[in-house]
């Protein structure tokens, strides 16, 4: 049942990426629903589910938008290791702030990687527009979208809320 729900969420994310995201752009950036899905699955169903979700999400979003699934795997890859690093660093901030930091860092990585791939294939690069059009608005969008999805989940008290494999019932 959990697997079906997870798959459904991944499919919904891929559909939202090509239907909802382009409708609400902020400057040049759009919400990366695939990335947010991986983060949310890690928080609600545990890191093992997120480990499985990364390739499926990359495939689904890649198929929907004709992007390279291989590149999207690389874009979503840092979510789990970075989540563990943040947990172990014991940053003196509330959990929500830590997670926003994680989402922002992963968003910057994902957008930079996708932009880097376009630059390698011949796109022009200028640093100022890159920050103005992509990074900064992308960070705002990621925090807004993450908040909109995460807060209801926390309010109903659902979720493992950890990226660490040894903790909770996800330990093997």
């Amino acid at each position: 049942m959990k697997l079906i729900a997870g798959m459904l969420l991944v499919v919904m994310a891929s559909v939202a990426q090509v239907t909802v995201a382009p409708l609400f752009p902020l400057r040049g950036a759009v919400v990366e629903f695939g990335l947010l899905t991986v983060v949310l699955l890690a928080l609600t169903a545990g890191p093992r589910a997120a480990m499985l979700a990364v390739p499926f999400c990359a495939l689904a979003v890649g198929f929907a938008g004709d992007r390279s699934p291989g590149l999207l795997i690389l874009a979503y890859l840092p979510v789990l290791p970075l989540g563990v690093m943040l947990e172990e660093a014991r940053v003196p901030f509330p959990r929500y702030m830590q997670l926003c930091g994680l989402v922002v860092l992963c968003g910057v990585w994902a957008r930079s990687l996708l932009a880097g791939a376009a630059i390698v294939q011949g796109a022009d690069f200028a640093f100022a527009p890159f920050v103005r059009e992509l990074w900064a608005p992308g960070m705002v969008l990621d925090i807004l979208a993450f908040t909109a999805m995460y807060l209801p989940i926390r309010m109903i008290g659902r979720g493992a809320d950890t990226f660490t494999l040894r903790q909770g019932r996800y330990a093997i």
């Binding site: 499919v11 919904m12 891929s14 559909v15 939202a16 990426q17 090509v18 239907t19 909802v20 382009p22 409708l23 609400f24 752009p25 040049g28 950036a29 759009v30 480990m51 990364v54 390739p55 990359a58 495939l59 689904a60 890649g62 198929f63 929907a64 938008g65 004709d66 992007r67 390279s68 699934p69 291989g70 590149l71 795997i73 690389l74 890859l77 789990l80 290791p81 563990v84 957008r111 996708l114 932009a115 376009a118 630059i119 294939q121 011949g122 796109a123 022009d124 690069f125 200028a126 527009p129 890159f130 059009e133 992509l134 660490t164 494999l165 040894r166």
Partner: protein, 274 residues
């Protein structure tokens, strides 16, 4: 250490999978699966669009009322100017037809166009790709040219599946079109820029704001004479070897609902392959 070793194995596996998918995507192995996936998610996409599009329209409309008013005033003046130009052109066309009849020469300029609906968009500063609801079953092939209802160049088909196709817009950063200015005949390469704009590179000649840019037909990837846009800015001085020329696209492919695929034109390289 257990955590890191576990994630290390997972990361290694993901890197290998990414490499495999990268290669598989390049050789087209994933295309049948992509076709199946898109067919299955099609109804869900229509449903999602139906729910969110009205909300997006309201939001964008509310925020842009002043801008729309300015744009409306500007367009009213431009419309009047264009009506006058159309009248002049109609007279010229009539005269040209009379001359063609008199000289016994004529050109058949009819083209076969296939109407297609835009199903989804993948738009970001570096990517401008749309998906249309016509594919190889309807005669669409890779490399075919996609136009707006008015005949302005929208983009090129990059991947044609059975029932749908992906179209790379001219404003995509990977897009390159051999183009020329109608007035001065200065030719160059039109490139998409981050932020969905266009620059006219390597253009030499007396270009000025307002010049119409059309495809030059060089290279054989596009038919000659398709309107792409209008020069909106020329920076640099006459000493510069190449000036920086910015072009405003004639059509915003990222918001178009219906486009037309020119099925009678295939890039020359594809004709040779076949």
């Amino acid at each position: 250490m257990l955590i890191y070793s576990r994630y290390t194995w997972w990361i290694a596996a993901m890197l290998a999978l990414a490499m495999f998918l990268g290669i598989a995507g390049q050789v087209g192995v994933l295309n049948p699966f992509q076709g199946l996936f898109l067919r299955a998610t099609g109804p869900l996409e229509s449903l999602t669009l139906g729910i969110f599009e009205p909300a997006a329209d309201i939001l964008s409309g509310a925020g842009d009322i002043d801008e729309l008013q300015d744009s409306n005033d500007r367009l009213r003046i431009e419309n009047e100017d264009l009506r006058n130009r159309v009248a002049e052109l109609e007279q010229d066309t009539q005269r040209l037809q009379e001359l063609e009849v008199a000289l016994g020469v004529s050109q058949d300029e009819s083209s076969e166009r296939l109407a297609a609906n835009v199903v989804t968009r993948d738009i970001s500063p570096f990517v401008a790709v749309i998906r249309i609801d016509k594919g190889t079953n309807d005669g669409v092939r890779n490399g075919m040219v996609v136009l707006s209802a008015q005949g302005t160049l929208v983009g090129t088909v990059t991947k044609a599946l059975d029932d749908l196709s992906f179209v790379r817009l001219v404003t995509d950063t990977q897009s390159r079109v051999n183009a020329k200015a109608v007035e001065s005949n200065a030719d160059g390469i039109l490139k998409g820029t981050p932020g969905r704009g266009l620059t006219f590179d390597l253009a030499q000649g007396d270009l000025k704001v307002g010049d119409i840019i059309v495809t030059s037909g060089l290279g054989g990837n596009y038919p000659e004479g398709l309107v792409i846009g209008e020069v909106s800015d020329v920076s640099g001085n006459s000493q510069d070897l190449f000036r920086k020329v910015t072009v405003e696209p004639g059509v915003r492919g990222s918001t178009a609902q219906t486009v037309f695929v020119r099925t009678d034109f295939l890039p020359q390289r594809l004709e040779l392959d076949e």
